[in-house]
């Protein structure tokens, strides 16, 4: 049994547990064996001095839900070996919040163009510095800060 750092209850009545990031994969394996067979989503939150990753789990046999959180500076283990749906959610978290997932088979950007600089959902992302996208001859996107080179 992995020990959790702290437990609390959210405003909707679901249990929230904080887990240290070294024990995250073990804890998720235990939860999957207990019956939590669906991973609903993976969220990344920027709290200015640290980042957090939030997992929402659901058990379709009993209807229980649990929220698992972990604090990190930028890297976490990936859970794609346990739930196949984690693949796209982790790619999106890397794209928008900038958290790396160790062991992910294909960690590339999914919503923004390849070559985009920065992670927009961070609180210190400069919204006034715009980037411009264009299409090269081979079918790949090119991104630059120069307005004459794209849209």
């Amino acid at each position: 049994m992995i020990q959790v750092e702290s437990e609390s209850v959210g405003k909707d009545g679901t249990k929230i547990v904080y887990v240290p990031k070294e024990n995250l994969l073990e804890f998720m394996k235990e939860k999957k064996e207990e019956g939590f067979d669906m991973l609903l989503m993976v969220t990344g939150v920027d709290y200015r001095d640290h980042l957090e990753v939030v997992y929402h789990l659901l058990s379709t046999s009993t209807g229980n839900r649990i929220v698992v959180k972990t604090k990190t500076e930028g890297e976490v283990d990936s859970v794609t070996s346990l739930w196949k749906g984690a693949d796209w959610h982790e790619r999106e978290t890397w794209d928008l919040v900038g958290i790396k997932f160790r062991g992910h088979p294909n960690l590339k950007r999914i919503l923004l163009a390849e070559g985009w600089v920065g992670h927009p959902l961070r609180k210190d992302y400069p919204m006034d510095k715009k980037q411009y996208v264009n299409l090269a001859e081979d079918g790949e996107d090119t991104v630059s800060f120069d307005p004459s080179e794209g849209y």
């Binding site: 923004l112 980037q131 996208v133 996107d141 849209y151």
Partner: protein
């Protein structure tokens, strides 16, 4: 040659023919595409204005209706599709997002209006515009083409 007096009746006939049989190219990107489909349906019947054939390939059509938000990732592809259409070609920009950015104008990945990508003939405002507004835009475009004010 087309400004000489010998060609005026032929010009008028060609403009009338082009204007009254515009074949649209379905370019539905977002929510406005659903209102465009409703305009094609039987209640608002777009087909009685001469545009009952919706072609799926840009090479066969002459009117492009950009309906929905234009994002930076999609903008170069819109330009490529516009370049594949043959002259004479026209563009209607439908909805607030395609005309000026819409509710998403402060976003980091949204282009403020499709007129930064292709030249636009008629703008339709609304979020989303009613099918009657889209039909009014089509009528305005037809009147301008038949009167010879659009040079393409």
């Amino acid at each position: 040659m087309s400004d000489s007096i010998l060609m005026t009746t032929l010009d008028e006939a060609m403009n009338w023919g082009t204007g009254k049989s515009l074949w649209p190219f379905t370019f539905g990107l977002a929510c406005c595409a659903i209102e465009m489909m409703s305009a094609m349906g039987s209640d608002y019947d777009w087909a009685r204005f001469g545009s009952d054939v919706f072609r799926d390939s840009p090479r066969h059509s002459d009117l492009m209706i950009v309906s929905g938000t234009v994002t930076k990732k999609m903008a170069p592809r819109i330009r490529r599709l516009y370049d594949q259409m043959a002259f004479p070609k026209f563009v209607i920009s439908m909805g607030a997002c395609a005309s000026a950015g819409g509710p998403y104008v402060r976003g980091y990945s949204v282009v403020d209006g499709v007129d930064q990508v292709v030249p636009v003939d008629v703008y339709v405002y609304g979020c989303p515009p009613r099918p009657e507004a889209l039909i009014q835009a089509l009528k305005q475009l037809q009147d301008r083409i038949v009167a010879g004010k659009v040079k393409h």
